[in-house]
């Protein structure tokens, strides 16, 4: 190894050590918790420009601004609910991916459960109807039984009178 090489190697080692030290210092700082919170919050908010994307996923300019705003509010100590209220006051409930339960949204919230209940009811009715028809097919016709009994009774009467 020449002197130049040795020097270069030393510089590289030094740089590596510095880099390692730097990452160690960054480590699991409270910032990570904050970032996680912001990420979760942004994934619950809608980007208004590309409406089927969350704020977290969107690259739109406005989404950038709104992310900055969300971060700023969170840094200022606002709670998640306060941040959401801030955006709702400006853009309406539409920014929330989870719309609040209100008189205008009850159908949205109860609809799927209503459909599920309707489906269950239909299923039950069809099952019962099928069961009934199967029972009816298996069991002797009550009318036939009555006719048979009537005929038997008649035979009995005849035999008695004959005897």
């Amino acid at each position: 190894m020449s002197r130049v090489h040795r020097f270069a190697f030393g510089v590289m080692l030094g740089a590596l050590a510095l880099a390692a030290g730097a990452t160690k210092m960054d480590g699991p700082a409270p910032d990570a918790v904050f970032d996680l919170r912001i990420k979760k919050l942004e994934s619950e908010l809608r980007c208004l420009v590309c409406q089927n994307q969350t704020l977290a996923d969107s690259n739109a300019d406005l989404a950038d601004d709104l992310r900055r705003e969300v971060r700023g509010l969170a840094r200022a100590g606002k709670s998640d609910d306060e941040i959401k209220a801030y955006l709702v006051a400006r853009y309406g409930d539409f920014v929330l991916y989870n719309p609040p339960v209100k008189s205008t949204t009850w159908l949205l919230w109860s609809g799927p459960f209503g459909l599920l209940a309707g489906g269950a009811l239909m299923w039950w009715i069809i099952l019962r109807r099928r069961q009934k028809s199967q029972l009816a097919a298996a069991a002797p016709d009550p009318d036939a039984e009555a006719r048979a009994r009537a005929r038997l009774d008649k035979d009995d009467d005849e035999s008695v009178s004959a005897g």
């Binding site: 208004l48 420009v49 409406q51 300019d61 406005l62 601004d65 709104l66 705003e69 709702v88 006051a89 400006r90 853009y91 309406g92 409930d93 539409f94």
Partner: protein, 176 residues
């Protein structure tokens, strides 16, 4: 009992069609503004043509005015621009501009080239006032009454219909 066999699916079909038909005529891009009938958010911004002076909505109390959000980079602003020029020439209602997230130089150049319909324009450099007004698609136009209450919001370019059928009748009523 026989009637229910087809009447239930038919009822479901009719309801579904009704929902889909209503959905067909709605524009999902038009988000209803929660600002309607609420006080217009306060702003203090530098004027486009005189950055040392400020424009604030408090100065405009007592008159009916339009706030038009525009930018030199905004393509659909070119569509509504002739209408704004006509509106400004008619002197029916003053139009104030909000130059949204624009370089002031570019904004001034754009107005010099295309004509300036605005009584005054304010510069919203970082778009924060835009956020306060719930702006998500430039151009947008707000009609604000004498008490500073937002009475109407147009999302997207102004059209002859929106002006004649909604904005101008409202302006006349509010000016009384």
């Amino acid at each position: 009992m026989k009637a229910t066999r087809w009447s239930i699916p038919l009822a479901i079909f009719v309801i579904l069609m009704a929902f889909l038909y209503i959905g067909l005529n709605r524009d999902p891009r038009e988000v209803p503004s929660p600002l309607l009938d609420k006080p217009a958010p306060a702003f203090v911004l530098s004027q486009l043509h005189d950055p040392a002076s400020k424009l604030t909505n408090a100065d405009l109390k007592g008159k009916v005015w339009l706030l038009n959000v525009w930018a030199s980079w905004c393509v659909s602003c070119r569509v509504e621009h002739p209408l704004l020029m006509q509106l400004a020439a008619s002197n029916i209602v003053p139009v104030y501009g909000l130059d949204y997230k624009d370089k002031p130089d570019a904004g001034r150049a754009w107005l010099a080239q295309n004509g300036n319909p605005y009584t005054l324009s304010a510069v919203d450099l970082d778009g924060r006032v835009g956020i306060d007004y719930g702006v998500y698609g430039v151009p947008e136009t707000f009609l604000i009454d004498k008490q500073g209450i937002v009475r109407y919001k147009q999302i997207g370019p102004l059209t002859v219909e929106s002006l004649q059928q909604k904005i101008l009748p409202l302006v006349r009523e509010l000016q009384k």
